[in-house]
Subunit: 161 residues, 2 copies
């Protein structure tokens, strides 16, 4: 029974995650609504990071009647489901990561506003996580982490000035 009547192209790993969401909601006594469908549609076409405001915009593109508070509340629900994760960027704004993505932290340069990812498997990150856990009993949420500072390029320039 493979590909029986499947319309457009079928990307198993990706689509299966989104297809299961309605039932995963109902299994928790939650509901599958048109508004949630819109947001999930937007998320399924999103790669990497997005701000809350960006998601609201993209939902409005699909449905001009989109209400921001509904989007934010749905994002909370989806975070409980493990579909997205949020962190706060260097400016304090919300930033959402669509899963599955490799867990990663961010480096943000306050001089040039540039941003880099730091994989959770980066030796530096891994060492810090273990050190904080052993030294303080504290388990860090790596993906929630943004390190603010000055990047190599900007540091070089500052020396000149």
């Amino acid at each position: 029974m493979r590909a029986t009547g499947s319309p457009s192209e079928w990307r198993p790993e990706v689509d299966r995650q989104w297809a299961g969401i309605p039932d995963r909601l109902r299994a928790r006594g939650l509901r599958w609504t048109p508004q949630r469908r819109i947001l999930v549609e937007v998320l399924s076409g999103t790669d990497g990071h997005v701000t809350g405001a960006e998601l609201v915009e993209r939902c409005k593109a699909l449905d001009p009647d989109t209400i921001p508070s509904t989007v934010y509340r749905t994002l909370d629900v989806l975070e409980d489901l493990g579909v997205v994760r949020h962190s706060h960027g260097a400016d304090g704004r919300e930033e959402f990561h669509v899963l599955p993505v490799e867990e990663h932290a961010h480096l943000y340069c306050r001089v040039c506003s540039g941003s880099w990812e730091l994989g959770a498997d980066d030796p530096v990150v891994a060492a810090a996580v273990v050190a904080v856990r052993d030294g303080h009993g504290f388990a860090i949420d790596v993906p929630h982490l943004t390190l603010t500072g000055v990047c190599a390029a900007c540091r070089a320039k500052e020396v000149d000035a």
Copy 2:
């Protein structure tokens, strides 16, 4: 000429820092205004962390005509002067540190909402700073750093559940 005509008690280390602010502003072509005097007065009586909103409230207590945007703009100026530093708490809200305080990062538990300080001289922090600098050429702003995660106590409880 010691304590000549000094009214109330004189706390050299503390008061001198605040007393120098007007001239430090003028030296940069900036101005010393009543609104700034109010904010500096509030800051001089503040210990540790405060949110922006809290500072606005305290200024309003001294002068009901206080305008929030003026407070925020003055905080920017004072940050340039090195009088305060800001970071973003786990919820993304602004958090100001009144100097001089030892540089420190924060641990924030997303389960119990507890918060702990982590000194810049903490071996874990120091090691991470050096590692990121050597590994990525990136200089971390330690005081801007908030690590979100789960504290030891809450981790113990989660195992039970």
